[in-house]
């Protein structure tokens, strides 16, 4: 999958800077953003539409806070999936309700045989393990082995930051 950098102009960057922490919770949020970036509301909405179409914005909506929602056990499940079925099975794993991120990544043999990463959230480790068992059944023989890496400490966490 290729990622092409998109040419963003000053107004795009201002819109991103004004909205990356969230949209105003008022009846006409784009009107407020437009005032902040000093552009017509129509222009702001069409730029946001364009960024959505280009995938620059993944989505617009709620961003749940897993930890505050009581999902304290965060397990990175990793799988050694047969390459020829990765596309099909990765998509099915990604569609599971309890999987928040799902990517294929390279193996580093012999130390690291896993090529599918699926982040699983649960209230307790036992719950994460039950969910991982669901993935194991789904993948069946296509996955030779798997492991779960629990996060034991957050060492650093900063969000995406773009300057205006």
């Amino acid at each position: 999958m290729q990622n092409f950098p998109h040419q963003l102009d000053d107004l795009d960057r201002k819109i991103i800077a004004a909205t990356q922490d969230g949209l105003p919770l008022v009846p006409e949020p784009f009107e407020v953003v437009a005032q902040q970036v000093d552009a017509p509301t129509e222009e702001v909405r069409s730029r946001l539409r364009w960024m959505l179409d280009q995938g620059i914005i993944r989505r617009i909506g709620v961003v749940p806070n897993h930890y505050a929602l009581g999902l304290n056990a965060n397990g990175m499940s990793v799988w050694d999936v047969r390459d020829d079925v990765m596309g099909k099975l990765g998509k099915r794993v990604g569609e599971l309700a309890f999987v928040s991120h799902c990517y294929s990544r390279p193996r580093h043999l012999p130390d690291w045989p896993y090529n599918l990463f699926a982040m699983v959230h649960g209230r307790k480790r036992a719950e994460v393990e039950e969910k991982v068992a669901v993935i194991a059944r789904m993948l069946g023989e296509a996955s030779a082995r798997h492991d779960i890496l629990y996060s034991t400490r957050i060492l650093k966490k900063t969000g995406l930051r773009i300057a205006a």
């Binding site: 999958m1 998109h6 963003l8 990356q20 919770l25 620059i56 749940p64 990765g90 990517y103 890496l149």
Partner: protein
């Protein structure tokens, strides 16, 4: 931390409003319809969900790579006695966005976000030189989904 008590409508909102928020003039009014809520009610619920930290925020989620940047996941096997020292060295790089200790021989996992792909290789080389440890690079090849449903 404030107490989080979610009713079924809150959960419905959290699960159903992860994408597809409109870009109309009155997007909250448009979105409120599916929940049988008024515009004012939906805004008040979102305010409360953010206030009690059930939500980190409400709005667009930007894709760093599409902004011209490059992102990758890295891991290191750090000897336990050097863990704090190496954490400090790694975190000192502004390119390190998230860093987690994890239960595995590869016990430190961090995300690098750089302005361009060359920055990734350069940062990895710097961290390897500073720590004298190998950095395993796990760039994503395919992305299958990003989202999470909260069980009702």
């Amino acid at each position: 931390m404030k107490d989080i008590s979610l009713d079924s409508t809150d959960r419905w909102i959290i699960n159903s409003l992860q994408g597809c928020f409109g870009l109309g003039e009155r997007p909250y009014r448009d979105a409120a319809e599916q929940f049988g809520l008024s515009e004012t009610d939906l805004i008040a619920r979102l305010e409360r969900l953010i206030d009690c930290r059930a939500l980190s925020r409400f709005g667009p989620m930007y894709n760093a790579e599409k902004l011209g940047g490059a992102v990758t996941l890295c891991a290191m096997a750090v000897p336990e006695e050097r863990f704090d020292e190496v954490t400090e060295m790694v975190n000192a790089h502004r390119e390190v966005a998230h860093n987690y200790a994890r239960s595995h021989k590869l016990n430190m996992w961090f995300v690098l976000a750089c302005e361009n792909p060359d920055g990734i290789a350069a940062t990895i080389a710097e961290i390897e030189a500073e720590t004298d440890l190998q950095v395993y690079d796990f760039p994503k090849q395919q992305e299958f989904f990003i989202g999470l449903k909260v069980e009702a």
